[in-house]
């Protein structure tokens, strides 16, 4: 029973990640391969603040969000004016560099040893720990994020993003400051990814760089692409599907030594199949013209 709540908690965390990546990929047309970096930045900022400085969770969270947004400028400012391939490469570079920082800046992040003993959040003396309580906690936060994303995407801001995705030149000719919008989209996406990171860190209470690698960024991208980009349903489908697959494998009795490899192969195959037969994913609406 606990296990089911555990999976549901992870689904909540990944929902926020995929919905926020969708703001970039599905709405702004920006294929980012560094989302896991922001996931990690959120996790590390919060973990460091709470373990080294004893700061309360509800202060660490906003600081992690702001920190992530500020750091997003490091990648968005250089990259948003670059075309397609070059943009992806810049996010690629950012992902590698951030991972190196997590791994090598040992005095700050404890490097490959990771940070352990991350305290669970406590609210007015009530400790939120264990899969069941954390599920409800993460559910509240993911619903709030879902509503937030929905509001901004339905608002004029979201419409401009879609316009930019369809035809940047025309959007500029109509007075839209495309660079500014892209930078803002990046900031939102990174802020939400940081929230996921914080949730993750305080749930599993131990983090190390291996959770925030290029592989993870590719996995997040797969969720959005397979589930579908460009609307709200797609990432939801994608998250459920891609997080259930490993559980199905476990259910089928596939041994743990080879399960990760088989899981990855399934993701890879799904990517190829969807890109060929259904580039808008299961439930999405953006097809990359």
């Amino acid at each position: 029973m606990n296990y089911i709540f555990h999976i549901l908690t992870m689904i909540n965390i990944y929902l926020i990640l995929s919905l926020s990546l969708n703001v970039l990929v599905g709405y702004s047309g920006l294929l980012s391969i560094c989302h896991a970096a922001f996931y990690g930045i959120g996790a590390y900022i919060s973990a460091i603040l709470m373990t080294k400085l004893g700061i309360n969770f509800f202060f660490a969270l906003p600081i992690a969000i702001i920190g992530s947004m500020v750091l997003s400028l490091l990648v968005s400012i250089p990259s948003v004016r670059l075309k397609g391939d070059y943009f992806i490469l810049t996010t690629f570079a950012f992902q590698i560099i951030v991972f190196d920082v997590f791994y090598n800046w040992v005095s700050l992040t404890k490097g490959p040893y990771g940070i352990s003993g991350i305290p669970s959040p406590s609210f007015l003396g009530y400790l939120i720990t264990g899969p069941i309580k954390y599920f409800f906690f993460s559910l509240i936060i993911s619903i709030l994020c879902f509503v937030f994303i929905n509001i901004i995407l339905e608002a004029p801001f979201g419409h401009v993003l879609k316009a930019i995705r369809e035809d940047e030149t025309l959007a500029q000719a109509l007075g839209k400051n495309v660079t500014k919008f892209k930078i803002q989209a990046f900031a939102v996406a990174s802020a939400l990814a940081a929230i996921s990171g914080v949730l993750f860190a305080h749930y599993v209470t131990y983090i190390d760089p291996t959770s925030f690698t290029l592989d993870e960024s590719i996995f997040l991208l797969s969720i959005v692409l397979i589930g579908g980009a460009g609307n709200i349903k797609g990432p939801v489908f994608g998250t459920f599907l891609l997080l259930i697959i490993p559980e199905i494998l476990r259910f089928l009795g596939i041994p743990d030594t080879i399960a990760p490899n088989i899981r990855q192969m399934i993701y890879g195959l799904l990517l190829i199949i969807f890109m060929y037969f259904r580039p808008q994913g299961i439930a999405g609406e953006y097809k990359f013209e």
């Binding site: 294929l31 250089p78 990259s79 004016r81 670059l82 075309k83 397609g84 391939d85 070059y86 992806i88 490469l89 810049t90 690629f92 570079a93 950012f94 590698i96 560099i97 190196d100 920082v101 791994y103 090598n104 940047e168 030149t169 495309v178 290029l214 590719i218 991208l221 797969s222 692409l225 080879i258 490899n261 088989i262 990855q264 192969m265 993701y267 890879g268 195959l269 799904l270 990517l271 190829i272 890109m275 060929y276 580039p279 097809k287 990359f288 013209e289």
Partner: protein, 297 residues
Amino acid sequence: MKINLILQFLFNGLATGALYAIVALGFSLIYNTTKIFHIAHGALYTIAAYLLFSAFILLKLPLFLSILIALFGTALFGIFIEIFVYRPFYKKNAPPVTSFISSLGLYIVLQNLIALIYGNQVQVLISEPEKTFQLGSIIISRIQLLEITTFLIISILFYLIISFTKFGKFLKALSDNSLLAEIIGIDIDSIRLKVFAIGSMLAAISAILSALDTGIEPTMGLPIVMIAIVSVIIGGSSVFEGALVGGILLGILQALSIFIFSAKWQNTVVFIALIIFLLFKPEGILGVRKRLEEIKI
């Protein structure tokens, strides 16, 4: 003496750079003629290494034969990938992004397949210590010499092919304007096959040298293809030779960064170099400055 140490690092960088240059040339060949961002190139690199391993260590075949198997086996794989994965996308005029993402998916599938078959651990092919000799104060290993020599031979061969053969002219035409090339009747399908065969073979050459030098593991392809991509961009993505220049430069840059900062920041240095180039000189060292309007928006 510090200067000797630097020289040693520079030489090592040159040898590693030679390997990078060869893989990068393979990537550049494929990218410039087909416009496919062929990340799976890294998987072919790994496949070559494991083919060599299977032939030489598992089947205990003679080294020379094993190398041939690895070379031609990889070329064959490259052709398969073109026929069964990329060509369908090409035929339906799919947007380039979808080919890129499928290439990514393909890489993931292949890397994990290899891990499943062979296990995740590092394997070593040659366990005796490498023969070395001394040139001045620099220690040179036999295989480093082989790496640099192979690079030189390939560079010269490539130059000759590109400049003097009809095939080379077709390649240049495709890289400039594939639509026009198609219209004047160049058999694009057959050239694509050849390009994938040659490109994959180049990856194989590099992989074989690397496997004999340091060993193999299933994840070896991704860092290599990343460096290949950076080499192509820094050297100049619009001309094939850019890959060669970029590869050597990156090898040296990496060696210098290991010398100055220590090995753990080598990736960061490489990618910061990439960002600097993308921002200030996106056409690369050898590239021609395109109209700004074609690169930036």
